[in-house]
Symmetry: C2
């Protein structure tokens, strides 16, 4: 949970709502119930937490502590695929220690958003019997805490990452070799996010390549990856995905993963059409379904 101040070629937004879990959970909630863990300062608008709750997102795991909410300041130049971080104020995030309630500990599908891998493992340790674990990370942790990240990855089934991060994590310069190396660290499925060019899905059985849905104008790419992950995991959850299914029926698992990638690409295309969560917050299920069908048609060979 964060405040973002963002400048893009299309304009700027000051101290707007942001944060991986915010994007993730709103996106996922179109498909499945979500329980959020996070921390905010007492400057965070209660109205937003209330709004999430109205979407049937369980926000009891959001700690409100004295201090200021995490604040990221970033900008994008005409290459909208790469954010430039101007400043990061960790604030209340610095001493975040996620504690799971009894209900949270029963979660079957776990998404570990981009955060210190030590905390990712701590969360995972508290979940009783996870059936499917997905994770995200970024350059900062890959370089700063590689050993802790590798500990986390041992227990991760699905890693979502971008190409640069895949190279950095694996030490390889060739994507295929990078995926082979990352798979040896734990995740059997790797999703490579490619910004305006969509995503690639690598499973032990096959490769799937999906384009982004072409939008007229990208206003702000922030949160595209997190909302991709939210729709992707939400879609998997809605369709009963588990590690077990991957083992028992690889064909059905691959088919489900491919459709989940298309769901992710569709959701991300809405996210980038406005600053912050603005577009996602006014997104309706019918227009989501319509665009998803359009994207499926755009990739169909007929």
């Amino acid at each position: 949970m964060a405040f973002d101040s963002i400048q893009t070629p299309a304009g700027k937004a000051d101290k707007v709502l942001g944060g991986s879990v915010n994007y993730f959970s709103v996106a996922a909630s179109f498909y499945a119930p979500v329980q959020v863990l996070g921390v905010v300062g007492n400057d965070f608008p209660q109205a937003h937490i209330d709004w999430l709750s109205q979407r049937k997102i369980d926000t009891t795991g959001v700690q409100i502590v004295s201090g200021e909410t995490f604040h990221w300041v970033g900008s994008y130049d005409t290459n909208l695929n790469e954010a430039k971080t101007l400043s990061t104020a960790l604030n209340v995030f610095e001493h975040f220690d996620p504690r799971l309630s009894e209900k949270h500990r029963d979660a079957e599908i776990v998404f570990l958003a981009n955060i210190d891998p030590v905390l990712q493992t701590s969360v995972l340790n508290q979940v009783k019997s996870p059936q499917l674990v997905a994770a995200d990370s970024m350059n900062f942790w890959i370089m700063g805490k590689p050993d802790a990240l590798k500990e986390t990855l041992k227990r991760v089934d699905i890693l979502s990452i971008n190409e640069t991060e895949a190279f950095l994590l694996s030490g390889e310069k060739n994507l295929h070799k990078a995926i082979v190396a990352i798979r040896k660290m734990g995740p059997s499925v790797v999703v490579v996010k490619r910004g305006e060019y969509g995503a690639m899905l690598f499973t032990p059985e096959s490769i799937f390549i999906a384009p982004a849905f072409p939008v007229d104008q990208v206003i702000d790419p922030t949160g595209a990856g997190d909302s991709f992950a939210g729709a992707f995991i939400g879609y998997l959850a809605e369709n009963g995905a588990s590690r077990d299914m991957a083992k028992k029926d690889p064909a059905a698992w691959n088919k489900l993963l491919r459709r989940a990638v298309v769901a992710g690409c569709t959701m991300a295309s809405f996210t980038v059409q406005d600053f912050s969560l603005h577009r996602l917050m006014r997104l309706e299920a019918p227009e989501l379904a319509k665009r998803q069908a359009e994207l499926l048609e755009m990739i169909s060979i007929g």
Copy 2:
């Protein structure tokens, strides 16, 4: 027909075989008979023209004139999607005046490779009854001879172009608007080439997005667009495409175009795996078919 001297992050090649029609015709010849029009100097290796002829490529339209062959010197940095031209020596190309034989004038499918649009129109004027006309162009002609290019485009059915060129040609900054504007100039079908990210196909009925086939290493992107076009048009020719089919059966036409785009993406992926035409010249039909099937599988939703 050209000599290219190329530097890429993978190495360099001096005065190797290049040129749009060279890439185009070798690629197209995997699918359909090709007749080449072009000009070379007397420094051009006869062995290469003989090699083309052995592939059933009609080279009687290649004029051999006194002087030096066109020579392009270019380089690519790590962004392999964009070539930097270091020098261009037009040489014998400067006074090229394509004259079609009686047999050439009977051609049903015409591809106007990237050249002065005045010459493109001159070739078209000599073809008796073209059933389908495709064309390529580039920034140099879009900026240098916009009126002549627009004259050519009036008679073109399919334009292949990259995104930057589409913006430049249309004066629009948004791809959808650019396509609408270009379509008003003549071509009903626009193929937008996206380098390592594949291609987009815009028809009056729909949009199709195809990824590039992921190769381990791009050695030299030169000729990727021309070999894409060669396989694309070759595939259309092999399957009886015509302007008439587009009108009478838009569904079949769109389906055929989509498969032709996949053929183009597959061919281009071989081209970039070595300098010059080296990879294409040793490409065998079975490995082409295998990779094409693999790419189709990589985009299938299952």
